[in-house]
Symmetry: C2
Subunit: 463 residues, 2 copies
């Protein structure tokens, strides 16, 4: 009999070709080991609550009340919920048409999109139009919707910029060299480069872009006629004071004409990161700048087919962009909780960087922002040979050995397309602060023994 | 300057080509009118809570508690939440790894998938494997994931079966004729037909398939080597006793070899329909039958890129498939609420059918199941001419006039690909029961005046 449509041989080849390192071989092996009873530290995905980060109380109270609107008429509700949470729940329910159980407009609840626009205006000092803001089930859905419009077929491509181990003083120059090289390389393969993606603060590298960097990038997009997709989901996650978060939109507007009217920009945000870390709720938004109305209509049409982003997460988004103010009953608790999380992340970023840098053949930049540490692992030639014999990419080989020895589940740098002969791994800085010393000790023990095993002469992998 | 990537002229043509009638011209016009202050009755989408259906209390209590887990330690929680809701919240939180704020496995929480499998086993009397069940953000996401694997490119197609105005006694014969015709027609255009989609109970037609119908369909899929996609989201929505819901999976298993081992089937379910109606939560699942493990792995890989379906809706799904039992504190309230909703829907289905059948040139089958009424509108030739002059498809013309006159927002049958010269509209049966008489009266007044205007001699559109 002929193969059936969902037999492996017969299914869509493009599906098979997709690679996704974050839940690739390493993740699958980690899941197996966990099933076998081994304790696994999942640092492969930025999933803070899975590693013990507790949710902020106030937004959870509000969404709980929105889920249980009958409580709003219960005379006893004040015994377990504060008055400001009750007021906010009433506010958000009044913005829905039918509560959390009704589909919203496919772009998201108009009243919440208005709150997002006001947030962006306060942040950037430039006007923002709710009609150009779409709420989504997490930022990744928005990225997919946008790429779906940008990529017309096999010949089209996107340049993804990982801003990483560039030396600080040269960063302006190096970025542009790198970009020109990447675009030229893609074009020489016959690819029409249509867009650039930046993640700022950076995943996987944990680095923050300066305003000067962003200007260079936007100028490059203008010259090369590229849409810029600005993944800015880590904008709350900043662990140094030299380079605070600046949005691509603000820099673009600051640049003035012709850039501010010409460069097409789509910016993404989420409730999954920052001190919120509400990954499981799946809430996000994107804002479009310089995108013509007819294109916006097409994006709306496609969003309509998926009916509506989930409504509870839209409320979380409203709460994130329209936070409590001094004087509100729950304000102090909210500030205490969010500060506590951010300060702990900053300390963990430091512990991890220092821990990696104390290891043999490992060098690591400080995690300036986002949730990741991205140490470079200088693998000895014998380790690279051993990997080849095992049929593995060298960094996959290293990460698998790390996983088996310690339970630490990371993502090999090759999953992000690093340069040939240079090896990294990505780990989140999210393990609980009190567990961090033991984790870094266990990493160091594994790494130094690994290096000992393969490094019987003074040779490193090319740097 | 060259067009930019997100200029309309330059964007992905396939996006522009997509048509989606449910939120098409009619919906956009309705939204405009609403903005202008006109009262609109949105019966274009099956969105029960938007039309006043109230959520079931118990599942909302459980999910509210899961959102506010700190309440579980509050000695006062019992004042506003019943003990069984508290116990269930603890149960579901124990199945997550980090509560509602953590990404789950990309296939959904293992413990909830197990509850889904147990539900399917109880329903069908055949084993169900949690590893072949994926939770999704609503059923539509699951359909997209599946089609993504089935459709390899432009040459591939899917046959969508609308079981509608066939006369009851001939239905077995008619279905197969129709199917063979549709498949032959598609093939004659060079399309490789790879899958069939059925919606049972039926959208837009409101009709239920008998076991005999389903056997014919499955046999046809076997013969023609088609995957069957069974959209069974309306399985709770049954308004007659002759044809209760029977799942495609049960019928397939009943058929025995070779069918039960050969026909590839993917079945979909949701928390959005039935007496739940929790559309805004975006919860669903699909179960795969006779899909090889390597394909399941590929579907898992793609699901991983979207990280995780939203977690609150996974809890709703758990609650739906694992409902309260007699003796539970909240059981009686739960039964009262769900019965109340279903019985009211049954009365509304009757009121709507009778209302349409009392109108000039309108004939309508009884809504046996699902949430839709699908009256045929026999448009006089002069109305068809008037539509052509206005540059509209005749049923779009009719529905726009209906909208302007009454505020009733429907979907023209042409959006579902009806036969040439036959015109329908789709409306939901969801307006509040007390509003129904006025709505049907307003429809009748519009329709009969419309027919009066265009029908000055005894001629109908072809039937």
């Amino acid at each position: 009999m002929a193969p059936k449509a969902l037999d492996y041989e017969s299914m869509n080849e493009n599906v098979k070709k997709v690679q996704y390192a974050v839940r690739g071989e390493l993740y699958l092996r980690a899941s197996e080991l966990q099933k076998e009873g081994k304790k696994i530290i999942f640092t492969n995905v930025g999933n803070p609550h899975a590693l013990g980060q507790r949710p902020l109380t106030f937004p959870r109270q509000v969404v709980a009340l929105c889920q249980a609107p009958f409580l709003l008429d219960d005379p006893n509700v004040g015994i377990v919920f504060p008055a400001d949470a009750i007021a906010r729940a009433k506010h958000y329910l009044s913005l829905t048409s039918g509560g959390l159980g009704a589909y919203s407009d496919s772009r998201g609840i108009p009243g919440v999109r208005k709150e997002v626009a006001e947030f962006i205006e306060r942040r950037d000092g430039y006007p923002s139009d709710p009609e150009l803001i779409f709420l989504t089930d997490g930022a990744s859905k928005g990225v997919m919707q946008t790429l779906n419009c940008v990529i017309r077929g096999e010949g089209d491509g996107v340049v993804l910029l990982f801003h990483t181990t560039w030396k600080r003083q040269q960063i302006g120059v190096l970025i542009i060299n790198d970009l020109q090289q990447s675009v030229a390389q893609a074009r020489s393969k016959g690819i029409t480069v249509r867009a650039m993606v930046i993640i700022n603060p950076g995943n996987p590298t944990g680095q923050c872009l300066s305003e000067a960097n962003l200007r260079e990038i936007l100028r490059f997009c203008y010259q090369e006629n590229l849409v810029l997709l600005g993944d800015e989901v880590y904008q709350q996650n900043i662990y140094q004071d030299e380079r605070p978060f600046v949005s691509s939109k603000k820099v673009l507007m600051d640049m003035g004409l012709p850039f501010s009217k010409e460069v097409q920009l789509v910016s993404f945000h989420t409730v999954s990161k920052g001190y919120w870390g509400e990954c499981g709720q799946r809430g996000g938004y994107f804002e479009m700048t310089n995108i013509p109305p007819k294109t916006v209509d097409e994006i709306y049409k496609i969003a309509s087919i998926a009916l509506s982003p989930n409504v509870p997460a839209q409320i979380f988004m409203g709460l994130m962009v329209n936070p409590l103010k001094p004087g509100d009953i729950s304000y102090e608790q909210f500030v205490r909780e969010s500060k506590g999380i951010l300060e702990s992340l900053r300390r963990r970023a430091r512990m991890m960087t220092d821990g990696f840098n104390s290891c043999r053949n490992v060098v690591c930049n400080f995690t300036e922002g986002a949730m990741y540490s991205f140490p470079q692992i200088r693998l000895p030639p014998k380790a690279i040979e051993a990997a080849k014999r095992a049929g593995k990419v060298p960094d996959v080989f290293y990460c698998l050995r790390l996983l088996e020895a310690t339970g630490i589940s990371t993502v090999p740098g090759s999953g992000f397309g690093q340069k040939e002969g240079i090896f990294h791994l990505r780990t989140t800085i999210l393990p609980a602060e009190e567990d961090m010393p033991a984790i870094m000790e266990s990493f160091k023990k594994f790494n130094d023994e690994f290096m000992e095993q393969y490094e019987d002469y003074r040779g490193y992998s090319r740097m």
